[in-house]
Amino acid sequence: MITPHLPVLQVVLPLLAAPVCVLLRNGRLAWLLALVVGWVSLLIAVLLLVRVLDGPPLSYAIGGWAPPWGIEYRIDRLNAFLLVIVATIDAVVLVYARASVEREIDPDRVYLFYAAFLLCFTGLLGIAATGDAFNLFVFLEISSLSSYALIAMGRDRRALTAAYQYLIMGTIGATFILIGVGLAYMVTGTLNMADMADRLVGLTGNRTVRVAFAFLTVGLSLKLALFPLHLWLPNAYAYAPSTVTAFLAATATKVSVYALLRFTFSIFGADVAFEVLPLDLILPPLAILAMFVGSLVAIFQDDVKRMLAYSSVAQIGYIVLGISFASLDGLTAGIVHLFNHALTKGGLFLALGCVFYRLGSVRLKDMRGLGQRMPLAMAAFVVGGLGLIGVPLTAGFVSKWYLVVAALGNGWWPVAVLVLASSLLALVYVWRVVEVVYFQPAPREHSEVREAPLSMVLPTWLLIGASVYFGVDTSVTVGVARSAAAFLLQAPLGAGP
């Protein structure tokens, strides 16, 4: 009865809950509502994934207006997988949020925090679910605007300048996307993605099409923080409240990667991207630079949150590198890493949130000897760190394995060597933290410091534990990712079933 409406419920539920949060005017109730919505969204996302994995894509016409005239929500294997990622992170982070947010946000602003959080969640789900190019822009702005507000809620005043900088760069990126969508509309006269893909067939030489795709690529690269367009990311992640950092690091850039995949493979087609336009020459060098520059800069950070933020720049490099191969193995590696990195980095930032909860700081010099004081949170950090390096039995190993396989499959063995070399850099910055945390004596004033509350440690271990689980049992993640990659490569959207 309700199942046909699942695609739209996925997005509308958090959207409606956001104003309710504002009306509640009570932090605790707002949290409870957000939590319930988060877990219901996860249930919906899982139901959707199960349905599309053994069936054709689901199409939902908003308001009963048939596509391509009305707005269509279209759930296929790729975005169903993404919906599950976003909803999982949201559900887990919200369990964690209560204690962390009470500590970091003014009590009279907590309900507004959850309203903005739900709007951000809505935007991310909307980008994933929609089958309409302009609708994607609108959801992108919903999620971006609310994330600027969320970042500005950080305690440090530099959170304000970080949010401002992100607002400027994010808006330029979004406007580029708007230009790209407009130019594509000029050529095709449609905004529906599947219809657009149909009409773009045979227009690969059209200059407007090429310009449209170029604008979209640059705009999305800004949003997904591809080197050298990553400048907004380190400060935004470093100064945002811990909960927001964990949520955004695990989802926001991943959703932009999805949008890039969607526009590149499903709408314009790989031949526009990789034959007419030289993305195969542009993306791999940038991705490799991101891997090295991000990791190198991370080594020299004293604020561990900033360190992980730069490590995110590097990890996005791996994802983009996988995509730029444009092969089945490469796309599988990119999509698997998207999932694995969301778990790993989400878990790592949650572990840091535990530290911040107790110490009010995540600078290296304040974290001396924390291994004895907060054994669970620090152990989670170490396991997550191993995942960043790509040690076997962690999820990070699986994605790097597929990345190397894909590189060798393309005959690019120097790239495979570079992937391995950059992993060693991750070892250096993770070791810096481990050395300080485990091998240096705790300062005397920290004798009061204890483990963070269970409601924070448990979600942290849930994500870290999942990252280990999916490092051992790869059948689910790799299976879904391969199926999504095959779906992307088979043909542009319109020609699909």
């Binding site: 300048t161 400027i168 808006t171 905004l191």
Partner: protein, 119 residues
């Protein structure tokens, strides 16, 4: 040739506005001026969308007897949404500037950087 170039004058204006706005965002250190630049940049895209809805010989898209040819109303409607987004962005940006001014006592980028330097 020249006629073609002049006939597309909307698009020339779009390009000029876009570059002016972009330049202001990059070159100005004053946070409010950056937002104004961003606004000009976004406005150029609004003009781009509105221009593409134009149909040669078409009239305003309002049903009227005896009129066969209308211009395309869809880009106009789309840009209404984008204008709303632009207003929201400007409001949020200015709100951030107000709070930055409260926290730092200045809205000049270089002075803010200088204040954050010693940390």
């Amino acid at each position: 040739m020249i006629g073609d170039a002049l006939g597309l004058y909307n698009y020339w204006i779009v390009i000029v506005l876009m570059m002016v706005g972009f330049y202001v965002v990059i070159s100005r250190g004053n946070l409010v001026k950056k937002i104004v630049g961003l606004n000009i940049f976004q406005t150029s895209v609004f003009v781009l969308y509105i221009s593409m809805g134009w149909v040669e010989g078409g009239t305003a898209p309002i049903l009227a007897p005896g009129v066969e040819l209308y211009s395309n109303p869809l880009p106009h409607v789309l840009i209404l949404t984008a204008i709303v987004v632009g207003v929201a962005t400007t409001a949020l940006g200015l709100a951030l500037v107000v709070r930055i001014r409260e926290a730092y006592g200045t809205i000049e980028e270089d002075e803010i950087h200088r204040q954050d330097e010693p940390t």
